[in-house]
Every structure is written in C-alpha cells, then in structure tokens.
Point group: D2
Chain length 145, copies 4
C-alpha cells in the first residue's frame, strides 16, 4: 500500500522572495499549509472550507512544523510541492512536504497536526479526537488499495 | 480642532523586503492596518479585539485602499507611521497613513473603511451604520477640544 | 485594437484569510504583482527574472497602487484575476487588475509602474526611461493587430 | 556563563491572524527571523544590514527551522519573543526562540543557520566558514563574562 501524494506545480513569485533573491523561509510553511489542504481535498473529496463540517471536527490545527532548506528557490523557478501523510497516530498525524526545483529536492518539511474537536463540557477548549479509520483509509492510493 | 494622530516607530525587517532590497508594496497595506487599529485604540480607549463588542458593530471593514510610493524603505530603516482619520462621513471614514524614513515622506496611503453591522433581517449581510457622534469626537486631539 | 489580458485562476488559501474569514487586503496587492509579471511574460515572451536584462532596464517599480473592495473572497473560493495595461505614457503605465469570485467582480485594482533604469551619472539613482514602442505594441492582442 | 538573550515585546496584529482568529504558523517563522537579527545586533553592535560587510560574510542563511505550537496567540495579545544562540558549532549555530503570551510559553522554535561566505573559486557558490571566536564570545552576557 502506498500513500496518496498530492502534487502542486507553481511558480515562485517576486513577492515570495527576500533581499537575497530567494524564497523567504516563512513562505515555505505557507506552501506546506496549501499542500495539506490540497491533500485532504484529494483524499476526502471535501472542499477545504467544508472539511470541519463534514467530519464534525473543529479542524486540523498544527502542533509542530519543521523544514530543512537544502537548496534555494528563486524568483521565476517552477517548483513542485509533493505532500503526503507519512504517519497516522490515534488523534494526530504527520504530513511530509517535499518541494523540488527542477527535480532537485530543495525543501524537506513536516507538519504534525491534530484531528481536533471542541470539548463538550467546555467549548472554549480544543481536544484531540480519534481519527476515524475510514478517514485514514482514504489516504492510501486508490490503485494500491 | 486638530485630528488625533497616532504614531508608531518600527524597523524595517528582512522579511518585509523583496529582491530589490526594499519593502514589498503589500507590506505597506499591512502597516496601514496596524496603524488604523492603533489609532482606534488611542482614540476610543478600547483594545482592538474588543472594538466590535464595545460599539455593537461587526467591525470596520475596508472598502478602498491606495498608496503612493515616493521613496523606498530598506532593510534596517527606522520608520515612523503616522495615522489619522482625515474625513468622517455618515457611515464611512478615511484614514490617512504617512510613512516616513528618516523624516522623509516615503509612502502616502489612504484607507476608506465602513462602520458596519450585520443586517437585522439577514445576518449574512453586512450593512453600513451611522457612526456615533461620540465616536467621531474622540478622534479630535484632547488638547484641541 | 484591444488590450492583451492575462488571466490567472487560483484558489483562495487559508493563509490568505484573516479572522473575518476573508482575504486580508494586503494579499490582493500581492496578487496584483503576480498578475503584472504574468501579463508581461505573456506580452513580451520573457520570463519575469529575465525581464530587466532583456530590455536593459532596472525593472518596473511601483509608484502607485489602489484597490476597491466590492465583495469578499473567502477560503476555498475559486477566483480569476484578469490583468491588462490600461494606459501607457512616455515612461510609466497603469495595470488594471480585476479579481472575480464566481464571475462577480470582487476587487478592482490598479497599479502605476515606471519603466526604470539606473542613472548613468549616479547609479544609485533610479530614473524613468521612455518605454520602447515595440514594447507597447506587444500589449495589444495578437488577434486585434 | 549565560547566553545573551534578546527580548522583543510586540502586539499580535489582525494581519498576523487566520480564520481561526490565531496567528498563522508561518508568521512565527517571520518573528523568529526578527528575533535573530535583533539578537545579532545586540551581541555584535552592528546594524543588521551592515552585518555581512562588517564580518566579510555573505550572511547567515537558514538551513533548518522548526517550531512547536503549544498555545495560540490571538489578535491583540501582548507577546514577548526571547531569542538566544543555544549552540555554536564550527560554522553553524542554533538560535532558540521562545514566544510567550502573558508569561506562558506559546511557541518554542529553533533555527539553524550557517556563517556563510562566497566560494573564492566560484562566487556563485555559498560555503560555510568558521565562526570567529570573537563573534562567539559576544553572545555571552556581559555580566557573566
């Protein structure tokens, strides 16, 4: 069984770049967020703004993020972001994001997110909830099921 | 009577700048937003997140924004943003923002915002509401009243 | 003769939106910048990072920007940005940007930019230069020439 | 001997926040960048844009960044960012960033950066260089030396 991978091609914009002429690091974390939503839409068939409602959750808040910057991405570069869930745990999961510039791995990132609901007793609190097995199953590639 | 002017000094960060080594234009509109909230807090004595609740409004959404870029602001520049309401109308108002670099006017901006509530009949609609006179009066300088 | 119009379809991302759940205003100015580069690539057949070199200019710095916000754009909205040069002057030009959400005009923007070189006597100074007629001609639609 | 810690107090702006009403994660990496420049200015007495020139380096590019998000930061929150170099190696170093909201640790971040120069043989290449001992010494607190 192989993970479902969602891929997005886009071009590095002037606005993404810093005085060194390369993408400023925080932008990659923004790209990772794009990638996660796209992956969830591909896997679950639900538009991102409808995700919470469809699964009676609050959302999939981020609790940890990291990136290694291996090579620069520059203004005008055509890049590809590949995103997949690399691990599901009971109520949290890791999303791996690899950004390639001309086929070369430039940024290797990871987000850890939580499948979260509001606490029934105190709705101001957010609490992790078990990820349904049916959700997990959708992150396997159709051709590999 | 003179307008209340709120002033904020800050430093241009690396992350604000583009490959030309100067502040990317969209950042100035972000600075203007900072300036408007600071001005409203100074005038009304209400923390920004409490503004809507304190005045039973939805907020002060932006309907028009513009800026003239007269001189660049660079990484490390100490700048001052001066913000004032230049015109109050029945339910909208203009905020002028002037950003100076070493005393020189670098960016001259203006936002038009609306004093907005939800429509009573259809809460999904936002509608302009008359700005209370007591609110308008607070945007005059105390020493000029 | 009709203006060349470049169009870009994209989706509003979570990261573009503010606590009101709609695109934060400064992001639209970032989108306008995307639109201008895309238009110049379509018209001149030169990749954005190669534009300055291809025409022996410093770039096309922004001197004025404005936008009217007519309707909100929300997380997940599919939008289209249409960009065209609405006026060429001797050494400056206006780019009009219209962002539509489901066919409805949501943001109407305009940038004024300068065709700029470095001053020969003092390279620290930027100065406007006459826009070549051959450049202007490329911003007319091929089918309309 | 204790590390020099630079601290910066600031307020969470509307523009920093996402539709959940909390700071969007990429902004924290922008704050970390602010923190590193501030720390280097405090330690070395050199304005950020003058750092490269003062030490004959290209800069201090980021090769790795990570953050744990422990508690949300909301619009209007007064926060404090504390930054320190937690480890110096031969030619790289780690900067730890802790962001507190009302005294509570909300985000715990780390950047790994390189003390970098251009390769003498091929100036298009960036290469790590040994960090001068005199530089390292400046990141100890004056009262602890």
């Amino acid at each position: 069984m192989a993970n479902l991978i969602s891929r997005r091609q886009f071009t590095i914009e002037w606005a993404h770049c810093d005085p060194a002429g390369i993408v400023f690091n925080s932008r990659f974390f923004e790209f990772f967020d794009w990638g996660t939503w796209l992956l969830f839409e591909a896997a679950l068939g639900v538009k991102p703004p409808d995700l919470a409602g469809a699964f009676q959750i609050l959302g999939i808040p981020l609790v940890d993020a990291s990136a290694r910057f291996l090579a620069p991405a520059r203004f005008g570069d055509a890049v590809e972001l590949a995103s997949q869930v690399s691990a599901f745990r009971r109520s949290s999961f890791d999303v791996e994001h690899q950004l390639r510039v001309r086929g070369e791995l430039a940024v290797d990132g990871r987000e850890t997110r939580v499948w979260a609901t509001r606490d029934a007793a105190d709705p101001s609190l957010i609490k992790p909830q078990a990820i349904p097995e049916a959700v997990v199953a959708r992150f396997q590639r159709a051709d590999a099921r």
